[in-house]
Each structure stands twice: as C-alpha cells, then as structure tokens.
C-alpha cells in the first residue's frame, strides 16, 4: 500500500533517516559525560550529611571555620554562609594544593562559585555542601554568592589566594 504512493514512501525514508541521528546524538552526549564523570573524576556534589543550623558553633568542622591541612598539600576549608558574607571570606593556599570546600548556611540558601574553577554549589541551611578542587595556577580567585539571598546579595563574595 505504501509502495503504491511514492511520495509517502519517500516520506517514510526521510523519517527513518532522521530518527537515526535523533538517537545517535543523545547516546553520544551521554557517553561523553559519563566518561568525564568517571574517568576524569569531574563530579557534582553528593550527599555529605545534615547539620542543625542552630548548632553550627559546636559542630565540626564549622566550630572552627577556616583552613586546615589534612595531609601535605591537602586542605579542608570550612566556611559558613550567612546574609551577606562568608566566614572566613579569604583563604590562602600554595599552588598545587588540593582543597576540599565544606560549606553550610546559617539562614537562607546561598550560592558558592569560585570563578575559573569547577567549584559551584548551592549552600542550603540544614545541609553540608562539599566539593574538592586542585589549584595549580597561582593567582586570586573570586568567590561569589550566586543565589539571591536578600537585599545585600550582590556584596556577598570572597577570594582564594593561590601563592
């Protein structure tokens, strides 16, 4: 029946010719991303535990916010976000160090992005946000709060200084 109608037949051929790339493109994207996630290890934040916002002052590691050397060249930076500042808002590490950022919020949701790196996460009250990054190039890296958190949101920032 289809073959009797050449125009329709061509139509079906076109459909098939398009359906194949419509499947191939998504499959290629998935493969590329899964490879970078597992082979290169470029991951997004995972579950890193909850915290009671009222008890931040007595909960590790936020009881003593700041930088801690865990092993040679490996650091942990514990930071607290609140309207409209990060505590501490400046961190200094030697070039080549691997830093694990641990954040939580005292009040509302904030954002945490270190410009020029792959550190980008939301900071949610009641939750601990955690990401690790290596700083190879010396310089000053801007930290911005990138989630609206109130009338002073645009002043909420900080920096990482890599020597």
């Amino acid at each position: 029946m289809i073959l009797k109608n050449p125009e329709k037949f061509m139509g079906y051929l076109f459909e098939v010719a398009w359906i194949l790339p419509s499947i191939a493109i998504p499959v290629a994207v998935i493969t590329a991303v899964v490879l970078t996630a597992f082979a290169v290890g470029l991951r997004v934040p995972d579950v890193a535990g909850r915290i009671e916002p009222k008890a931040i002052a007595v909960t590790e590691p936020f009881d003593e916010p700041g930088l801690r050397e865990l092993a040679p060249g490996k650091y942990q930076a514990a930071m607290i976000a609140q309207v409209f500042l990060f505590t501490p808002n400046e961190i200094e590490v030697p070039a080549g160090s691997e830093v694990t950022f641990m954040l939580t919020s005292r009040d509302v949701i904030h954002g945490f992005k270190i410009v020029g790196t792959s550190v980008n996460m939301m900071v949610v009250p009641g939750q601990i946000s955690k990401l690790t990054v290596r700083f190879d190039r010396p310089g000053e890296y801007l930290i911005v709060c990138h989630e609206y958190c109130g009338s002073g949101h645009h002043v909420m920032s900080g920096k990482v200084i890599v020597r």
């Binding site: 899964v34 934040p45 579950v47 980008n120 996460m121 009250p125 801007l142 989630e147």
Partner: protein, 560 residues
C-alpha cells in the same frame, strides 16, 4: 430546525457566535498575559540599565521600594508565571474548541477558570507590589514571603486544572458523536499538554500545601528548604514544557498553514508529544546538580533521561523544518536551501514564529551544556543561564505567542492587525536584540558573572565583564523596543483595526495524516500510566530520603 435558506452572512455570523465564549475567554486571558509581559519587560530594561550603572530604581523608590530585586521578582513572576500561564490557558481554550469544531461542553466552567485564575493573580500581586514577597519567581524557602503570595500562586495553578476538566468532558462528548474517529491533532496536543502539566503540578502542590502555606501563615515553626526545592523543581522543569508545547502546537498545526504548505507527519508529531508527556517530569533533578544532600547517582539518572528528551525535540525540529521545506517548494522554491526564500517573509505571524524557532535552536544548544551533569558546574547560576532561557522561554515561547496573536486577532477581536509593517519590524527587532543580549549573557556567564545579582552595585566586577555588559544593554533595549511595537500594534488594532468577518479556523493538513495514525497514538491512558510509573521510580527514593531525614524546623528570614 428551520428549513428556510439563510443568507450567507447570517450563516457566517452563526459560526462566530458558536464560539463566542471561547473567543472572549481566550481574548481576556491573552489581554492579561500581554499586560503582564509589558510590565515585566519594563523591569527587564531597568535590569540591563543597572548592569551598566544607570540606576533608575532610585527615582521610582516610592513605587518600587525593593529596587532591583523587587523588580527582578516582578520580571520573573510576570514573564514566566503570569504571561505564559494566562496565554496558554487562553490559547488552548481556543484551540481545543476549534480543533474539535465544537464549543467546550461547559462554557460556565471556561469563564470560571478565567475568574479563578485572575483572583489568584490579584491575591499574589498585592504582596509582590508591597515588597513583601521579594523572593524571585522560584520563592526558595527559607526566604519567607507573605502567605498571600503563596496562596495566590496556588489558586492560579488550581485554576488551570479546570481547563483540563473542560477538555476531557468535551473529548468525551466528541467521541460519542464521532465513534471510531481519531482525535483532531491540535485538540489531541492541547489535551496532552494539559495532562502533562497537571501531573507535573504534584510537586508544587505538595510544596505549597504541606510545606509553605502552613509555615507562612504561622501554623508550622519552620520548613525543610531542600525538600521544598526538590518539590519545586519536580514542577519547575516540566513547567518549561508547559510553556513550550503550546508553541509547538502552533509550529505543527498553524505555521505550516501560514507558510502555504502541509505538516510533514502527524504520527511523528503525536509520538513527540506523547514522549514529552512521559519524559517531562522525571528529569527535574537536572536543576539540582549542584545541590547538597541529593545523591550523585540520582542526578546521573535524571541526566540520562534528560538527554532522552532530546529525541522528541529533534523529531519536532525535523518535522517542522520538513513542513517548511514542503511549503517553500509548493510556492515554487528550488534548490537545497534556496526554497527558504520562497517562504512568506512578508507575513508577520509567520516571520515571528520562524524567528522564534531559529532562536530556539541556539537555546537548545546551550541547553545541552546546562543539562550535561558535570558541565553544568561551569555555568550553573551564572548569566549564561539567563542567556539560555531568554532564547527558550523568552523567544521560542514569547515570540511565538506574539506572532500567534497576530494570527488570532481577527477571531478574537473581529479586526485585522493594524500594521503589518510594524509587525515585521517587531520580529526583526526582537531577533537582533535577542541575539545580542543572549550572546553576551552567555559570554558573561562563562566569565563567571553570577545571575540574580545587582551587578552595577557589586564590589567585585571583573575587568573581563566590563567590556561585555554594554552589549546586554543594547540588546535589551532593542528587545524592549520590539515589545513596545507589539503593544502599540495591539492597542491600535483593538481601537482602529479594520473590521473583518473571520472565516472558520483551519489547521494545517498533514502529508502523512490521521489515516496513518495507529490507535496507540490516539490513546492517553497507557501513556499517563507510564508517566506516573516513571516519575515514581525517578523521584520516589530521593523524595522519601528527604522527607524522612528532613529537619522541618528552619525558621526562615525576609532579608530585603
């Protein structure tokens, strides 16, 4: 029935009268929509000016005490909650009736839908205008707005359910009168769109009723921000398909007709809509790749399903382009690409919508980056995202709706478009302005500029941003000029446009039409059930984990 032969004019007036309710309900919804877009667009201009340190918020402090952030809340709420929702409900009311070629079974319900949603809109508008709900259109708790803001939005959402009810009742009546016939394509698509939307609203319904309303009205001491966020995005991703699918309805069933051709394939169009029904909801975690407290594994699963949605999107792209090619060739166009020039480039309703498609192609490309799990870390919450969604909802949807209105005007107002030239100018201004604006927003995002931020007053502006910001202003002003052209054209049409007797609405016929549609592409129930099962699998574990480990005691703050 009277058997007296009636003069033709009277018979035509009868056709118009048959759809009087739908015409008026659609017209009023669309009027509200464009009032919202006008005010929302104005706020957009203030934003791009502020980016460049031209601060117009100070002179209007008495009207807009919350300045940039209150303006941005208005911009988001008016453009993507009010404009879209009212336009869609109006347009789908119209399309459903015309496609079935019978009025909705319950005209009272159609009016009630409009009044109910409008009441919700007014209730939510008061706190926003009083600067008591400066929480953006995403209202992430524990930012705490006036309870009336949440109440009003809830009422608007519930209002949309009444359209689906009316559609389903109309479908039943139509099936009784047309046993064995396939549902007309445009009506089918309208019902699929509303069905997808109602499933999608489960998230926001639970967020509002269980978490936010009791908390905002003082009945609960606090809330759990992460659970609320997750419920928000449960609805927040599929809402983009709620915006987009009505534009697709136009691209599939109206644009080919405007172009002078036929839809390439109706079965393929139905496949893509049914896949959107199944796949739109269970992928919302792609908005939360950077959130703490949600497992990487489920983020990855949602990523994979998100990429699955490329499939129906690419089918749509092919089907629509093939239809345009058919039209171009029918009009005598030749060659591999030269047929493009044979299309009706002097028809505003056509040009706007084709420009919307072109801008959407760019938006789709940047969307692939956003969706891609770890690549999202580069762009999340930067100006890139803003660049992206001005191409999608801000162009694919908003520009299509403007063009569609040019086409709808004779039916809704009995008048033709006042100035076709102004309509064409509007289309060109939008595409030029938007290409500039969105390109430079994407660049600013790559350079690390945060979104939702009063950049003109930020102490940390990087030199790399300074050279890019002025172009966002030029683009933004051109877009606003386009919106003004549109509004002036509407106003002039409604007051002085030439009166016409609109004929019946005819949708594009298909090269491969209903005769090629297998029965399973004319049924909804199996697809709805698959959607629900998939949503339960993809969201169940995460929601269960968040609900059982949540601390529902975060008190919240209104720091503005």
């Amino acid at each position: 029935m009277a058997v007296i032969a009636r003069p033709r004019a009277a018979a035509r007036a009868d056709v118009a009268d048959r759809f009087a309710t739908e015409n008026r309900v659609a017209g009023l919804n669309i009027l509200v929509a464009f009032l919202a877009l006008g005010l929302g667009g104005l706020m957009g201009v203030l934003q791009v000016l502020q980016y460049n340190s031209i601060d117009l918020y100070k002179p209007i402090k008495a009207i807009l005490p919350g300045g940039y952030y209150q303006g941005l809340t208005l911009h988001g709420v008016l453009n993507v909650l009010v404009f879209t929702t009212f336009y869609i409900i109006g347009f789908l009311t119209f399309v459903t009736a015309r496609s079935f070629d019978r009025p909705l079974v319950n005209p009272g319900l159609a009016w009630f839908t409009f009044y109910f949603m409008t009441a919700g809109l007014l209730i939510a508008a008061v706190p926003i205008l009083l600067n008591q709900a400066t929480v953006m259109f995403t209202f992430y708790p524990p930012l705490k707005a006036s309870g009336f803001f949440y109440l009003g939005l809830t009422i608007v959402v519930v209002g949309t359910y009444f359209l689906l009810a009316n559609q389903v009742l109309t479908l039943r009546a139509w099936r009784r009168d047309n046993p064995g016939a396939k549902i007309p394509l445009a009506a089918f698509m309208s019902i699929v769109t509303m069905t997808m939307w109602v499933i999608a609203t489960f998230g926001i319904a639970v967020e509002m009723l269980v978490l936010l309303l009791p908390w905002a009205f003082g009945l609960a001491p606090g809330t759990d921000p992460l659970l609320a966020r997750t419920l928000f995005w449960f609805t927040g991703h599929p809402i983009v398909y709620f915006w987009l699918l009505p534009a697709y309805i136009s691209w599939y069933t109206i644009v080919p007709k405007l172009a002078g051709g036929k839809l390439f394939s109706e079965p393929m169009a139905r496949v893509s809509f049914l896949l959107f029904l199944v796949l739109s909801v269970p992928i919302g975690l792609h908005h939360q790749y950077t959130d703490p407290g949600i497992s990487q594994i489920w983020k990855l699963v949602h990523f994979i399903f998100t990429v699955g949605v490329f499939f129906p999107s690419l089918l749509t792209f092919f089907n629509v382009v093939a239809s345009l090619e058919h039209a171009g060739r029918s009009r005598g166009g030749k060659g591999w690409l030269a047929w493009i020039f044979a299309l009706p480039w002097n028809e505003p309703a056509f040009v706007t919508q084709v420009f919307a498609m072109m801008l959407f192609a760019f938006g789709g490309a940047s969307g692939v980056i956003n969706a891609s799990y770890n690549l999202n870390l580069v762009v999340h919450n930067t100006a890139w995202i803003s660049g992206h969604f001005h191409l999608t909802v801000g162009s694919a949807v908003a520009l299509t709706f403007m063009g569609l209105t040019y086409w709808l005007l004779p039916y809704l107002s009995g008048r033709t478009l006042w100035s076709r030239g102004l309509g064409l100018a509007q289309a060109w201004l939008w595409i030029i302005g938007m290409i500039l604006f969105s390109h430079f927003m994407h660049m600013l995002g790559l350079a690390g500029m945060p979104r939702r931020t009063m950049i003109g007053s930020a102490p940390y502006v990087l030199p790399a941003w300074e050279g890019l910001l002025p172009f966002t202003m030029v683009g933004g002003l051109l877009m606003f000029a386009s919106a003004l052209c549109f509004l002036v054209n509407m106003l002039m049409t409604l007051t002085t446009g030439k009166r016409v007797e609109p004929g019946p609405v005819t949708f594009a016929r298909a090269l491969s039409g209903p005769e090629d549609v297998p029965l399973f592409l004319d049924r909804l129930t199996p697809w709805v059930l698959s959607a629900i099962v998939l949503v339960a699998i993809n969201y169940g574990p995460t929601l269960y984990f968040l609900a059982t480990t949540g601390r529902f005691n975060i008190p919240g703050l209104s720091p503005w």
